[in-house]
């Protein structure tokens, strides 16, 4: 068991290195650099000397391999570099925004769980009735409705009906929970709905499986209490596959955050990513991609670990 874990952990390193090289090269291939973006983008006059001086300051005039090695060497010493746009450490820029994105991810996951488990259970209990069909349609719709569109509709609704907009600046939950939730509950709903889609169906089939077995054995389901015990037992069984699915759908969560943060103007990692790409802030994009990939790979690893715990056959592949 431990050998499997160790093997997987060690495998992460070359993968991350590969990611680093890939993203580094891909960005340098992209036309236009950040100095260009800053000056030409504002339509004012700046002489070539000023541009070249900026480039030298950012280290863009050095050969590619030199830039890559100094970046890598920095990472080894846990120095992730400074943003080319603001000149502040990348870790600082990310740290400011991390709390928001993490909280949003957590809230979306909670929404997903609170949607999928009750809905999935009800659908299983009332299998093949109109309730079941409604839930199934509702969950498949979750896969189809773009979460950014849902966000737009929410904002539009607030603006037109209430003349209100969710707060535009972030206040930490520990400072002012009301303002914090007023801002984040809506994007969490938009993202969480989609996130719950697959989990709902998983819960439904897991509960169905258990119901079927136990129903056959206990031929007489006497009243409410037995049903309740049955459902609780079913839910316990459903937990693990649901967690697996939530882990597997995690990729969607990250992607969903990127677009939803734009819609709601949230100062999070997703918005930072899109802006950094537009600004050609190489160092920031590289670090963000590494971060996202790392989290992503790690979550996949956790999911595989859970599966391996459940199914020993996988371990020995």
């Amino acid at each position: 068991m431990w050998r499997y874990i160790l093997k997987r952990l060690l495998l992460m390193i070359p993968t991350l290195l590969g990611v680093a090289i890939l993203i580094f090269l891909m960005l340098r291939v992209a036309p236009g650099d950040i100095v260009e973006m800053k000056y030409a983008g504002t339509g004012t006059y700046a002489p070539k000397e000023a541009l070249d001086r900026e480039r030298a300051q950012l280290g863009l005039d050095k050969p590619l391999w030199h830039q890559f090695v100094s970046w890598m060497w920095g990472i080894v010493r846990l120095d992730f570099g400074t943003s080319m746009w603001t000149g502040r450490p990348v870790t600082h820029e990310i740290a400011i925004r991390l709390e928001l994105s993490l909280q949003l991810a957590l809230m979306a996951t909670i929404v997903a769980i609170f949607l999928s488990i009750p809905l999935g259970t009800v659908a299983a209990l009332k299998q093949d009735t109109w309730v079941d069909y409604c839930v199934r349609v509702f969950s498949i719709a979750g896969l189809a409705v773009p979460s950014f569109w849902l966000g737009i509709l929410i904002i539009l609704g607030f603006l037109i009906i209430f003349r209100w907009l969710p707060p535009l600046t972030f206040t930490s939950f520990w400072v002012d929970p009301k303002a914090n939730l007023a801002q984040l509950i809506w994007p969490a709903l938009a993202v969480g709905y989609r996130y719950s889609a697959v989990a709902t169906r998983m819960t439904r089939s897991a509960v169905l499986e258990v119901l079927r077995e136990d129903y056959i054995r206990t031929a007489h389901a006497k009243g409410l209490w037995e049903k309740v015990i049955l459902v609780r037992h079913a839910l316990k069984n459903a937990m693990l596959p649901v967690i697996t699915v939530i882990g597997l759908e995690f990729a969607f969560l990250v992607g969903g955050l990127v677009v939803t943060e734009q819609v709601f103007n949230l100062n999070g990692i997703g918005k930072l990513f899109v802006e950094s790409i537009a600004q050609r802030d190489y160092i920031m994009v590289q670090t963000l991609v590494l971060l996202i990939s790392f989290v992503f790979i790690f979550v996949n690893f956790l999911v595989d670990l859970i599966n391996a715990c459940l199914d020993p056959r996988i371990r020995y592949q």
Binding site: T15, I152, V274
Partner: protein, 297 residues
């Protein structure tokens, strides 16, 4: 071997058509949701192909005197900020969605299938290298990789297709590979090698056809995702560009800016996207249930 008479082997035409009809009807009856999805898909394809005939206006024609008009008898779904008819843009938008969706999922699934089969067939070092490469690409969420590709290649329909294809390839390769792995040890492959067939022939004529089921399922599964991804990219301004009619593009900016005067502009394109992805998902699900319920995508 005795020469079989051609006549005895050909089935009468009517019963072949009858068989297809029977299969379709059974599908419709047993998996009604999937059939409903298929109907919507067909409707979409029809709209895309017949756009020139059924769209009331040219989707690119601007009319500065008729900007942001409410739905009326002249413009059923109103006009946008350039005076273009929203209904026509929705209809032509299906063309963009299908073109991008089909191209990218077809390319992604096909390339992924070939890579998966090749990797499974040769095994050993090749398999390992391909696996690592696929793992690398898989460590990015879909939209992250697509965004980076767009940053490099730029925006525009062709580039968006590429940006969506690239993340699809490893996902498909992985699934097809596991299917193909089980095939590799089947007797017909050994027999083919014994008969001296080349690698290419075995892969393309013997193995690939046998992974048709998971391939088709992947194709339909990716179609819905591709349409969503294209809508998201266009919404961010990093996908298809104006003045191409595309649903994601129609939602960009316009929705909240014109909330007071033209709220319908935010509703229709979103419904179009949701409906089409919904249909593809329903159809794809039922297809998977019919072909191979054990398939985990």
């Amino acid at each position: 071997m005795a020469k079989m008479s051609a006549k005895t082997l050909t089935l009468p035409v009517e019963s072949r058509v009858d068989r297809w009809l029977e299969v379709t009807l059974r599908f419709a009856r047993e998996r009604s949701l999937g059939a409903a999805g298929a109907m919507i898909v067909l409707l979409m394809i029809f709209a895309a192909l017949a756009a020139d005939l059924i769209a009331p206006y040219d989707p690119l024609r601007t009319d500065y005197r008729a900007m942001l008009q409410a739905p009326s008898s002249r413009h059923w779904f109103g006009t946008d900020s350039f005076g273009r008819d929203v209904l026509s843009r929705l209809i032509y938008g299906s063309r963009t969605a299908l073109w991008v969706g089909f191209s990218s999922s077809f390319l992604g699934a096909t390339l992924g299938a070939v890579i998966g089969v090749v990797s499974a067939y040769f095994g050993g070092k090749i398999d390992l290298i391909v696996q690592r490469l696929m793992d690398l690409l898989l460590s990015f969420p879909l939209i992250v990789l697509a965004l980076v590709v767009v940053a490099i290649l730029g925006t525009g329909t062709t580039n968006v297709i590429l940006a969506i294809t690239i993340p699809m390839i490893p996902r498909c390769a992985l699934v097809i590979r596991s299917s193909a792995l089980s095939l590799r040890h089947m007797p017909f492959v050994d027999a083919a090698r014994a008969l001296g067939f080349g690698h290419r022939r075995i892969i393309f004529r013997h193995m690939l056809p046998n992974v048709m089921a998971p391939y088709l399922v992947m194709l339909t599964a990716f179609l819905g995702q591709a349409i969503l991804l294209e809508a998201s990219l266009s919404f961010l301004g990093l996908g298809v560009t104006e003045p191409t009619p595309a649903w994601g593009l129609m939602l960009r900016g316009a929705a909240v800016e014109f909330a007071e005067r033209a709220p319908w502009m935010a509703i229709y394109p979103g419904i179009a996207i949701s409906l089409s992805v919904f249909a593809f998902n329903l159809f794809g699900d039922s297809l998977r249930d019919a072909l191979d319920p054990k398939l985990r995508i």
